[in-house]
């Protein structure tokens, strides 16, 4: 790998910012209990970008919402711990009371939602919305808040004075998304969660947002969690990638390993299903079947009904994430078999379709 490409991982510190252990989230639905997040555990280090990829309904947005406890009323965190650490001071997110939670959100952990660029108050200037945020979170000094914001606008390549005095409708989608990024950083949080940050944007605008994110990462120390169904976005920005399937993490690995040497059959299928622009035109494969019903997920490994490598053990026992390589965890009983034939069974299965 050329050193220029890897350089961003130099920003990663040893300190763990967020530690999630065995998190379970359920939704109460008319048909029964939807097990949306099933036993997710991961560590996020300071300065690191972790991307969660997976298809719709795999629980990635629910996971993001659970991290800052913004789940709807029908949801319940059944089990698990979320530990957030700043300057060596660990706090348990799930045990916080309302006041502590209010302080935690935005000051410690900011989340930018899918399509939030359309959620600005249309009748207030950007300036006033910035000020509202600052004041609501205990910043009483207008000049200080303003100076910080101007500096952040410069960091996200916006013309600070123009943007401050604009109404949201005067800004393009990409500009609004960048205003949001700056606004998210206003109170100096250590963790930012982005849910589908570029999904609604055009290609050229998306590129500018990606570049801005990359610059921000180099200039400010914060950890980033990115939730996206778009595998190319994770390829652009992530240090590590977590692949989710049916509410569980099936593989967590360094971004290069995820794309070039995935171990889990589902990750292999997902990566090989996405067409690329450069390189030879490779044959794409599809994964037959569809994701399971999370009210009544299959016993054992949730992927077994679609997996050509499934054995009796997969149908009975649920595999857990185990570290199999440096910075590479996988939840699959047969990962060695899968690597041994480099996913050839998946290709055969797709051809039979």
């Amino acid at each position: 790998m050329p050193p220029t490409v890897r350089s961003q991982s130099q920003h990663i510190k040893d300190e763990v910012t967020l530690s999630v252990d065995d998190l379970w989230v359920t939704y109460l639905a008319r048909r029964g209990t939807v097990k949306a997040v099933r036993g997710v555990s991961f560590d996020l280090r300071l300065g690191e970008t972790l991307a969660f990829i997976g298809e719709s309904g795999c629980g990635k947005t629910t996971l993001g919402l659970a991290l800052i406890r913004l789940l709807p009323k029908t949801a319940k965190i059944e089990r698990g711990t979320i530990t957030y650490t700043r300057n060596g001071m660990p706090t348990r997110v799930l045990e916080m009371d309302a006041e502590a939670l209010r302080n935690f959100r935005w000051k410690e952990c900011a989340m930018i939602f899918q399509g939030a660029q359309n959620a600005f108050n249309p009748v207030l200037r950007v300036r006033d919305q910035v000020w509202d945020t600052a004041r609501a979170h205990g910043e009483g000094n207008t000049t200080r808040a303003r100076d910080r914001m101007l500096e952040l606008f410069r960091l996200v390549s916006l013309d600070p004075d123009r943007v401050m005095n604009s109404y949201p409708h005067e800004l393009s989608g990409g500009m609004r998304q960048r205003v949001l990024l700056a606004l998210g950083l206003l109170l100096d949080p250590q963790l930012i969660i982005l849910d589908e940050p570029t999904t609604a944007l055009d290609i050229l605008t998306q590129r500018s947002v990606i570049e801005v994110l990359r610059n921000l990462r180099q200039q400010i120390d914060f950890s980033l969690i990115m939730i996206s169904h778009d595998l190319s976005l994770a390829a652009e920005l992530a240090d590590r990638v977590g692949t989710m399937y049916a509410g569980g993490l099936v593989e967590v690995a360094d971004v290069y390993d995820t794309y070039y040497h995935p171990y889990h059959p589902y990750t292999i299928g997902l990566i090989r299903a996405v067409p690329t622009l450069s390189g030879a035109r490779r044959d794409l494969i599809s994964i037959p079947g569809s994701p399971p019903d999370l009210i009544d997920p299959p016993a054992g490994c949730a992927f077994h009904p679609r997996c050509p490598y499934a054995t009796a053990r997969c149908r009975e026992q649920q595999p857990v994430l185990v570290t199999v390589d440096l910075n590479h965890q996988v939840a699959c009983w047969n990962w060695q078999v899968v690597i041994a034939d480099s996913g050839a069974l998946l290709v055969m299965q797709a051809e039979k379709e």
Binding site: E55, R207, L231, A235, Y256, P275, L277, S278, S286
Partner: protein
């Protein structure tokens, strides 16, 4: 190969308040029999409007849509009906394009009965089952009496395809047909659509914003890139992706993030002069791309609108600077050969 569909100087304007907005302006290209042409571009570039005019859903305000050589808006009623059967549509959103109150069998039977392909409900049911099998929804008996909400997104989109196939079309316009689907389902649908080309000689006008999908689906076809209502480049897929000629195509290709960390992080980017996308109600004079174009030459690009010009190997581009430089280079080569 003969052209099945020809768009000739196609233009469509809309009145927005006091202004007239040209969503599509002077678009001309042909789709040959059995060919795939992908129309790509960013939102608002007029690709959907062009697609709608190609299947007769929208009447152009200028220019012609010719199907098998005949202007569709000058056809008599019987011919127009035949054209409508021959040209079918697959919509983007399988959630809203199927009637939620009708069972799958009714959705597919309706056109069969309407166009007299089947003469009674029983025959229509049998044919519907056959069509579901064609789109790999097996066994069809399980699905015929279900309602759209009982199906997954991928299954629903297959039902839309089955519905389009009811009247034996020779041409399908698919507008972002796979963009709502999850990646693992997307591929099998694209492969199925590709299979219809060999099985029944289907012709496609495939509209997408995703160039990687276009590259995969139209590998042996062509891609047309639109910008603010005009086609700026059209050419054979491998050539257009591999050696883009128009500065906009270059910018677009260099900006697209790819699902390959190494490639996407080291790719060379084209720097644009401005990130502002001009509004359709205020299209810049001359070449609409000139305020952002890295090759901009004052006095040339902002004066006249560049026309699509053939530059060899089946590629046509609309750019003053590139066309001029290429012909100068070609002229130089000619002189060298002549001198030798």
């Amino acid at each position: 190969m003969s052209a099945i569909l020809e768009l000739v100087n196609l233009e469509r304007s809309f009145r927005v308040g006091r202004h007239t907005v040209y969503a599509v302006d002077d678009v001309s290209f042909a789709v040959n029999e059995g060919e795939v042409v992908c129309l790509v571009g960013e939102s608002g570039c007029g690709k959907t409007t062009t697609g709608k005019m190609a299947v007769g859903l929208l009447r152009p305000t200028g220019g012609e849509v010719r199907f098998k050589g005949q202007d569709i808006w000058k056809m008599n009623a019987a011919d127009f009906r035949k054209y409508r059967q021959a040209a079918q549509i697959i919509h983007q959103d399988p959630y809203s394009s199927l009637n939620p109150t009708q069972a799958i069998v009714d959705i597919i039977s309706a056109p069969l009965l309407r166009h007299g392909v089947a003469h009674n409900r029983l025959a229509a049911r049998a044919l519907s089952a056959e069509l579901l099998r064609r789109v790999d929804l097996t066994p069809p008996e399980d699905l015929l009496d279900k309602y759209p909400h009982q199906l997954s997104g991928g299954q629903r989109q297959r039902v839309s395809v089955a519905r389009a196939l009811t009247v034996n079309p020779s041409f399908i316009m698919a507008d972002e047909a796979v963009s709502m689907l999850d990646v693992s389902i997307r591929v099998s649908l694209l492969k199925m659509l590709a299979r219809f080309r060999t099985e029944m000689g289907m012709t496609y006008l495939f509209i997408t914003h995703d160039l990687a999908v276009a590259r995969f689906f139209a590998w042996d076809g062509r891609i047309a890139v639109m910008y603010l209502g005009r086609v700026v480049e059209i050419g054979p897929t491998p050539r257009l992706i591999g050696q883009p000629q128009h500065p906009y195509t270059k910018a677009l290709l260099s900006a697209i993030p790819e699902a390959d960390p190494q490639a996407t992080r080291t790719k060379e980017r084209v720097q644009l002069r401005s990130m502002d996308v001009p509004s359709l109600s205020n299209v810049p004079p001359g070449c609409a791309f000139h305020p952002r174009c890295p090759l901009f030459e004052p006095g040339v690009c902002n004066k006249t609108v560049p026309q699509l010009t053939a530059i060899g190997e089946g590629v046509q581009i609309a750019c003053h600077v590139v066309v001029r430089d290429q012909s100068a280079a070609a002229g130089a080569t000619r002189e060298v050969t002549h001198g030798a």
